[in-house]
Subunit: 265 residues, 2 copies
Amino acid sequence: MSDHDAGRRPGFAAERRERILRLLRANGSMSLRELASAVHASEVTVRRDLRALAADGLLDRRHGGAMLPGGLTREAPYREKTGVATAEKAAIAEYAAGLVEDGDAIVLGGGTTTHELARRLTGRRDLTVVTNSLLVAEALADAPGAEVVMTGGALRGPIRALVGGAAERSLAGTHVRRAFVSGNGVSAARGLSTPNMAVAGVDRAMAEAAAEVIALADHTKVGADTMFQTVPPDRVSLLVTDAAAPPAELAALRAAGVRVHVVTP
Amino acid sequence: MSDHDAGRRPGFAAERRERILRLLRANGSMSLRELASAVHASEVTVRRDLRALAADGLLDRRHGGAMLPGGLTREAPYREKTGVATAEKAAIAEYAAGLVEDGDAIVLGGGTTTHELARRLTGRRDLTVVTNSLLVAEALADAPGAEVVMTGGALRGPIRALVGGAAERSLAGTHVRRAFVSGNGVSAARGLSTPNMAVAGVDRAMAEAAAEVIALADHTKVGADTMFQTVPPDRVSLLVTDAAAPPAELAALRAAGVRVHVVTP
DNA sequence: GACCCGGCGATCGAATATGGTCGGTTCCGA
DNA sequence: TCGGAACCGACCATATTCGATCGCCGGGTC
């Protein structure tokens, strides 16, 4: 049932409000701008929708966006001043979302950037997403066109991701076109890396399971090198980063055979 | 437009309305234009159909289309604030939490009651919890004394649980002392049951993985019998329910060898 | 064969939704 | 504390949808 553009259905008002609620429940809170772009409506219209929904007590309006009512459940301020490089991550995720087509089967790793990416895939049709991240799974749980498969494994609380032998084994049997992974550092010398051994194992397994590995890394990670190497440079087919990344490192990465796409927030 | 004659003559109209209902149930909501094109009728005709169906309470009309009744308010079944038997579920979870000791390894199934139970285990020490529920995992993610292991599997969105062959296989290798499962019905005749086949498979695997199966079921489920049997009565070692459960059924369960504990909210 | 009747589609005024813009307010960083 | 940027509510023009009326078609009846 994929007419044209994903999610660009002619849908009507009540359905749009339903989608807004779903998006909010998946993400805890969202800015007005995010919502408007997600449901393909103007900010004025979304503002009206939020007003109506808030009148019914279905959400809480805040300056600049909305969040779940009574929700101490998840304190995720939509304007995350605590998060570093939020705008950059969003822009990177936005571009990465454009790489995903209806009917794709992809692997999504853990991390805030991949979470952002997942949130942008709710409108896709006939999508299969393999992930070890609770955040990714939750973001896509209500997406009608997405089949979400989780790896098993031990839960690593702080990052809400599954790791360990079980996670790696469950990935061993799968093969997909593309894996989107994040990691804590990416350099021309050692490729993707992460400071945690268990996480590294899963990231390696994810890279193994995919024909193409696409690295999502904001500028704070480019040139960084942490303890465990996960994906060597020649296995990274594309790096998506933002304009603040050190040009020298990007050049070195290109020289190492990595395609690099730079987005501007 | 006489409603009586509609049943006598299986004309095109009745069939078209059936199809409209089917489409709506499949998609949740559809715009008038989509429906008209789907059933190959004019928008005016579909509008008439919608009016008639809405009069019977079979759907909710909205400007621009229609959706399933109740749509906006009971969107997220698991986050139900006004859910049924909330106090009872809490009391059941409270008692069940008392059955869990430091150092235990347990299996927690999906459902709101097990979610409540998980939330009461955050203070335990040296606990290992195997679960297929995203809600349980999330509830224990920040608990310092709990090691959470998730089964893999396909995500079943509405209940936030992992199901399917992968989930069952990952449970095959585990063995724990106790499994806490909920299900949609429990009766002396057929034990625990659930209306979904995939969920049933996982519940069975969970029961297999545990030495003891403890069923958590509020009174609305006692005596209920849904399509797929998951755990036979003689494998349920303890049923925790609330005081509003039908006494006859509880007696029958006891006669079947099930220990029954009744909590008062 | 003429008539009636239920269902369907087309059309038009009315109601509603949408998006752009303007002025006042709130928020954030300096 | 202050200035700028972002956000909000309100107004208006436009686009879309709704409800009602009408005419057409096919089948059944007298």
